[in-house]
Structure formats: C-alpha cells, structure tokens
Assembly symmetry: C2
Homo-oligomer: 164 residues x 2
C-alpha cells in the first residue's frame, strides 16, 4: 500500500513534466479476442481480409490500442496516484497499425494544470499521450483531462477557511 | 453475404441523417473482466471502493463503454457498410456512470460528408454518437470521421477519367 504522501498528487503534474512508461507486448490471441468481442471488422479478425485492406495486415482494433494504453497508464502512474477519473478525451488519432508482436511505450506530457474552482480538494491536469512501437513510430496520440486529489488541500483542511 | 449494392456506402450518410441502434445489456462479469485486464482502478474492480468514490457505485471503465459502443456500431451499420476504418475521434465525454444491468442504445447523427480529394474512391463522414441508458440519460458522447467506399466512384470506374 502506498501512503497518501508517496502517491502522485495534483502538485506532481507540473506543466512540461514528461512521464515515460509501458513496455507492453501486443499479443496476437488477445488482438483476435478483443476484436471478436468489440470490433469484429474483417480486417481485425482475419489475416487474408487484413492483408487486402488499407491496414496491410492484421492489426489491433484502435479501441484495443486505447485499452492497452489505459493499462500502461494504470501501471505507469494512475494506480499510484490520487486520480479521481477523467471527464473525457480529445484528439484521439490512430496513426499507424498496431501489429501482434509490437511492443508499445507511452510518453505523457503535462500540458496544463489548475486547481478546480468548484472542488478545492482536487486539481485538473491536461495531458498528451503518445504511444510508440519498438521502431519509434507513433501509433496513437490523444489528449485529456484528469482529476487528481491535491496534497496541499489535504494539508490545508486543518486551517480555518478564509472569510468570504 | 451482402452484395456491394446493398451495403451502406458513402452516399447513404447524408448530413442530418440519424441512425439508431444498440440494445446492449451491460454484464457485471464483463465489467469486472474488462477492468481487470485494462483499467484496474479500484472503483472499477471493487464494490466498496466504488461506493466510496465519486462514481457512487460499481461502473464500467470508460474504455469499456467505448468498446461496447464500437460493437453496437459494428452490428448497427459498420459490418454492413463499405467502411475502411477511422483516422480518429474527438470530444469523447464520459457523462454518467455505466452500471452493470444497464441497457445501452446509440443515436448516430451525420454532421459532415465529403468525397476525399486524394482518394476519389472514398468519402469522409463525420458523425456524432450519443449513448444513452434505459433511463434516457446520455452516458457517453463522441465525434469522429469515418472513411467509406463510394458507390458512385465504383460505378464511375468504367467511365474514362476526365482529362486534367
């Protein structure tokens, strides 16, 4: 168990800070299972159809790539943070096919950070994520806001609130 | 097998047209399995942690909701279309928790449609998707471009190209 003090809090996500994590290998059986469950388009399910498609071979569903990225984010920082979830994401771009056997890594850059006006105990952090394969090709980019508990607000809870 | 003529092509996605489909029930075991694989934050995995969180109870990972929506899109129109994939999505907003036992439906509205300049055999379609639960609450919205084969371009393939 990480203590409250050791977990990443709002204050740790300074604008310009970069986090790198990942190393997930893309498993062929998992690519096929995810596609069968959630995205059964022929080019994600069938080698021949995939070879004939614009993707030029079997590739993971874009949603599977997002899900694998989420898992890398969880293991890379979220599970050791004061995260309280995300209201949404923007600018998801699937730039290159993700192939079975690829190894994916994530580079996260902090774009904006500000305390919440309505909920002083949390802060809002806008990040950009770039997912790259073992060749250095960027396969996915996305941006989004996350909500994180504030270390300073927790400490400040014992201070009487200012008038007004 | 659907014939080329019966499949939805670029020309069928007229601006303003609305498609409704779905009816997917959210399965509790699947919610837990998806979270364990891709989004193991305590509030997606554990009833007590979920009750104590801002989500107020166990809910599907936002990525799981997207994946279930993708499956409804596949069954609702994509698998019976000339779809050639999507370059990306924008404005994903997870507006309300999705609970085990919920039934989800999708309303898709066509926002823009134009032939590709570089690839005359395809057209680009921008859509908005709204996902609602059985209470009529909107739980997810997103927008994005899709690429679809053009029926007219296929027919026009036998006509000599215009000079210039």
């Amino acid at each position: 168990m990480s203590t409250a003090e050791s977990r990443l809090a709002f204050e740790d996500f300074q604008v310009g800070r970069v986090f790198e994590f990942g190393g997930r290998q893309v498993d062929r059986d998992e690519v096929l299972a995810f596609a069968a469950a959630y995205d059964p388009q022929p080019f994600h399910l069938d080698e021949e159809a995939a070879n004939a498609s614009v993707l030029g071979g079997l590739s993971a569903s874009g949603w599977h790539t997002c899900a694998m990225t989420m898992r890398m984010m969880c293991d890379g920082y979220l599970l050791n943070s004061t995260s309280q979830g995300s209201p949404g994401l923007d600018n998801i771009r699937w730039l290159k096919p993700v192939r079975p056997g690829d190894t994916l890594n994530v580079r996260m850059s902090i774009l904006e950070a500000r305390p919440s006006k309505n909920r002083p105990q949390i802060g809002l952090v806008r990040s950009q994520w770039e997912v790259r394969n073992q060749h250095g090709d960027t396969v996915l980019t996305m941006e989004g806001w996350g909500m994180f508990g504030r270390r300073e607000a927790a400490a400040g809870a014992e201070v009487p609130p200012a008038a007004g």
